[in-house]
C-alpha cells in the first residue's frame, strides 16, 4: 500500500491512558503486603491474647496455660477434622462452587465407620468402605449441581438434610449414636487412629491431616486441577474457550470434598469411640469461616489452601482458647460474630484493596 496516502491522516487522537500498571506507588505495595500476610498476624494476635489472658492464674507454658504442651496437643487433636476438610473445600470455592453438606457427610461417615468397626471389620477395611461412601456423596453432590444444574446452595442444603437423615436412620432407635454396650463392646483400638501418640504426642490422624494439607497445596500449585479450578472460577468463558470441561473438573472437586469429609468423619468417630450422627453439625460453618479468613473470594477464582489452613487454626485457637476464659455457652455467639467479621474483612480485602 502507498504510505503517502496516509500521511495527512496519521495524527489520529486516541485515548491517552497514563496509568501504567507496573509502576506501583507505595500505598499499593503496603496494601498488597497487608492483604498477603494479615492472616498470620491475626493468628499471632489470637495466640497472644489467649496466652496473656490467664497469666495471673497460670504461668507461661505451665499446665493449664494456652501454650502448655498439653493444651497445644489437645488443640491440634481437635483441629484434625477441620484441617482435613478446609483444603479440599478451598479448591471447590476457588472454582466458584460451594458444598454445605460437608458437616452431614462427615457425620454419616463417622456413623458408617463406627458401624463397620462395631460389626467386627478391621481398621483398613472400615476405612476404605467409609471413604467409598464419602466419594459416593461427592458424586451425588456433583451430579445434582453439575448435571441437573440445581443451584449449589440449594442442592447441598438438601443433601445436608439427606446425609444427616441417613445417618440418623442407621443409628438404631433409642440410641443416640453407634456405640458399644456391655455384651457387644466397641473394640478399643478404634481410638488408636485419632488418640494414640505416634510422634510428639500427636496421633496418626493428625499426620494424615497434615499430609492431606500438603497434598492439596501441591494440587493447587502444581497440578492441572488446581489451575483449572482457578480458571473456571475466574473466567468461565475463557475456561470453556480453552477447552476446559468445567462439569468434569468441578464434579471431581465435589468428589474430593466428599472424600475428605469421610476422612474427617473417620477421625471424629475414632476420637469419640462412637458414631454420632450429629457430630459433624456446624462443620460447614467452621470451614466457611476458615476459608473466608484465608481470603478466598466468594465469587471464585482466587484463594489459597495454605491460608485456609491458617484460618482453620485461628478458628480452633478461638474455640479452644475461649473455653479456658469464658463459659461454653458463649461459643455459638463467638462463632457467629467471627463469621460476620470474617465476611466483612474478606469483602474489604477483595473490594477495597483490588488495585
Amino acid at each position: 500500500m502507498n504510505p503517502t496516502v496516509l500521511s495527512e491522516n496519521v495524527n489520529v487522537k486516541h485515548v491517552q491512558e497514563t496509568s501504567l500498571p507496573l509502576r506501583q506507588n507505595w500505598p499499593t505495595v503496603v496494601k498488597r503486603t497487608v492483604k498477603e500476610y494479615y492472616i498470620y498476624f491475626v493468628l499471632a494476635f489470637v495466640v497472644v491474647v489467649f496466652s496473656v489472658a490467664k497469666l495471673d492464674e497460670v504461668a507461661l507454658f505451665e499446665r493449664g496455660h494456652f501454650l502448655s504442651p498439653d493444651n497445644i496437643i489437645n488443640l491440634l487433636r481437635s483441629a484434625v477434622p477441620i484441617l482435613t476438610l478446609s483444603g479440599a473445600f478451598t479448591l471447590l470455592m476457588i472454582s466458584g462452587y460451594i458444598d454445605l453438606s460437608i458437616g452431614s457427610a462427615m457425620s454419616l461417615s463417622a456413623v458408617v465407620f463406627a458401624l463397620m468397626v462395631l460389626s467386627g471389620f478391621g481398621f483398613l477395611f472400615a476405612l476404605i468402605v467409609t471413604l467409598i461412601v464419602g466419594i459416593g456423596m461427592g458424586i451425588l453432590n456433583g451430579y445434582l449441581v453439575m448435571k441437573l444444574r440445581i443451584t449449589p446452595v440449594i442442592a447441598t442444603l438438601v443433601t445436608l438434610s439427606l446425609y444427616k437423615g441417613i445417618a440418623l436412620l442407621i443409628v438404631p432407635d433409642g440410641l443416640s449414636a453407634i456405640k458399644g454396650n456391655a455384651e457387644h463392646p466397641m473394640p478399643a483400638w478404634i481410638n488408636n487412629y485419632a488418640r494414640q501418640d505416634v510422634l510428639l504426642g500427636l496421633p496418626l490422624a493428625f499426620y494424615v491431616a497434615v499430609l492431606a494439607i500438603v497434598a492439596l497445596i501441591m494440587v493447587q500449585k502444581k497440578t492441572i486441577l488446581g489451575k483449572y479450578a482457578a480458571a473456571i472460577g475466574g473466567n468461565p468463558t475463557a475456561a470453556a474457550l480453552s477447552g476446559i470441561n468445567a462439569v468434569l473438573i468441578v464434579w471431581l472437586l465435589y468428589i474430593i470434598v466428599g472424600f475428605f469429609a469421610a476422612l474427617a468423619g473417620v477421625a471424629r468417630a475414632s476420637f469419640m469411640s462412637l458414631g454420632d450422627p450429629l457430630s459433624g453439625d456446624g462443620m460447614e460453618l467452621a470451614v466457611i469461616i476458615a476459608v473466608l479468613l484465608g481470603g478466598t473470594a466468594f465469587s471464585g477464582g482466587e484463594g489459597s489452601v495454605a491460608k485456609s489452613v491458617v484460618g482453620a487454626m485461628i478458628i480452633i485457637s478461638v474455640t479452644v482458647g475461649m473455653l479456658t476464659v469464658i463459659p461454653a455457652y458463649w461459643q455459638t455467639f463467638a462463632m457467629g460474630s467471627v463469621l460476620l467479621i470474617a465476611a466483612a474483612l474478606n469483602h474489604y480485602l477483595q473490594e477495597e484493596l483490588k488495585t
Binding site: L160, S161, W330, S337, L339, L340
Partner: protein, 342 residues
C-alpha cells in the same frame, strides 16, 4: 394508524395462566395425590381433626415462610429466622422476668411490663434483620454466608442470656396468655389465627401492592429494576427486617406458649422454611414464586411428616423425607415448566 391485527389462535386452557399459578396448581394436585395415598394407608388420616391438624400444626413454619418466600423471590436467602425465633423468645422472657427475684441468675430479668418487653424483643429481632441487610446490601456479601453468620449470632446471644439453657421462672402471669389462647368454642389457637391474618396480608402485598410488584422486579432483573427507578437496596433492607420481624412474632408466640425462653428453640426451622418455599415452587433464580405456593408447600410437608408418623416411622425419617421431597419437587417443577414452554 393502520393496525396490523395478528391472527390470534384460540386460547386453550391455561394459556393465560401465569407460570406461578401453573406451578401452584401443580403442587395442589401433588398435595391432593399425596393426601389420598396417605388416607389409604394411614389409619384415621382423613378424620376432620387430623386434617385440621395438618393445617394448624405448622403455623410457625408458615409465618416465617412468608418472609423467606419474599426474600427468595428477590434472589436472597434468609437462614437466620430460626436463630431469631430463639433470640426473641429469650429476650421477651428476660425482659419480663422479675428483677432480683432470687439467687438464681436465670430467674432474674429486667422486670419490664409485658407489652414493653415484647416490643423491645421485636426490636431486637428487627435489628438482626437490619444486620443481614447491612451485610448483603452495603457490603455485597452473599446472603447465604451472612445469614448463616447471623443465624449463629442470634442464637448465640440467646445462649449467652440463658447460659446455654432456658429461662422459665418468675414470669408475670400474662406472659403465657397469647400463646395458649384458643378461639372460642374451638381448639384452634390464636397463633393459627395470626398465621391466617399474616397470610392474607402477605397475599395482598404480593398480588395487589406496588411494593409487592417491586419484589418481583428485583428478582427478575435487579439492574433493570434499578434503572426503572426501584430503590433496590432500600427494598431489600425492608424485606430483611420484615422477615426478622415475622420470625420475632413467631418467637414471642412460642415463648408464650411454653412460658419459657429456650435457647435451642426452633433449631432447623430455617431449613424447614426453605423446604416449604421450594416445595411451593419459589425459585432462587429470582422473580418467581408465591405465598400461596409456599402454603401449599407447607401442607405437603405436613402431610408427608404426619403420614410418616402415622406409619410409625421413627422421627429420624424426617430429614431424609424432606430431602427427597424437595428433590422431587425441584425436578418436577423444572420439567413441568420446560414442557409448558415448548
Amino acid at each position: 394508524m393502520g393496525i396490523i391485527k395478528q391472527v390470534s389462535r384460540k386460547p386453550s386452557f391455561g394459556d393465560h395462566m401465569s407460570n406461578e399459578s401453573f406451578i401452584t396448581l401443580l403442587m395442589i394436585g401433588v398435595l391432593f395425590v399425596l393426601f389420598s395415598i396417605a388416607a389409604i394407608f394411614v389409619p384415621n388420616f382423613y378424620q376432620p381433626q387430623n386434617m385440621l391438624n395438618l393445617i394448624t400444626n405448622n403455623w410457625f413454619i408458615v409465618i416465617i415462610g412468608i418472609g423467606v418466600t419474599f426474600l427468595l423471590i428477590t434472589g436472597n436467602f434468609d437462614l437466620s429466622v430460626g436463630g431469631v425465633i430463639a433470640l426473641t423468645g429469650v429476650l421477651a422472657v428476660y425482659f419480663s422476668q422479675t428483677a432480683n427475684a432470687s439467687q438464681n441468675e436465670l430467674a432474674n430479668g429486667l422486670g419490664l411490663p409485658y407489652g414493653v418487653a415484647v416490643v423491645l424483643a421485636l426490636l431486637g429481632a428487627m435489628s438482626i434483620g437490619a444486620l443481614n441487610a447491612f451485610f448483603v446490601v452495603r457490603l455485597k456479601v452473599p446472603s447465604i454466608i451472612v445469614t448463616l453468620g447471623t443465624m449463629m449470632f442470634a442464637r448465640g446471644i440467646a445462649q449467652v442470656i440463658t447460659q446455654g439453657a432456658q429461662r422459665n421462672t418468675s414470669l408475670p402471669s400474662e406472659f403465657g396468655l397469647v400463646g395458649n389462647l384458643a378461639l372460642p368454642g374451638t381448639s384452634i389457637k390464636l397463633s393459627v389465627l395470626i398465621m391466617l391474618i399474616l397470610l392474607v396480608i402477605a397475599f395482598i402485598f404480593e398480588r395487589r401492592t406496588a411494593a409487592g410488584r417491586r419484589t418481583y422486579l428485583i428478582g427478575a432483573n435487579a439492574d433493570a429494576a434499578r434503572l426503572s427507578g426501584v430503590k433496590v437496596g432500600r427494598h431489600l433492607t425492608v424485606l430483611f427486617i420484615i422477615s426478622a420481624l415475622l420470625a420475632g412474632i413467631t418467637g414471642i408466640l412460642l415463648a408464650s406458649e411454653f412460658k419459657a425462653g429456650v435457647s435451642s428453640r426452633a433449631l432447623g426451622y430455617e431449613f424447614d422454611a426453605l423446604v416449604v418455599t421450594l416445595l411451593g415452587g419459589v425459585s432462587i433464580m429470582g422473580g418467581f414464586g408465591s405465598v400461596l405456593g409456599m402454603l401449599v408447600g407447607a401442607l405437603i410437608l405436613s402431610v408427608v411428616t404426619s403420614a410418616a408418623t402415622g406409619l410409625l416411622l421413627s422421627p429420624d425419617w424426617q430429614f431424609t423425607l424432606k430431602a427427597i421431597a424437595v428433590f422431587i419437587a425441584i425436578m418436577a417443577q423444572g420439567f413441568a415448566l420446560s414442557r409448558r414452554k415448548s
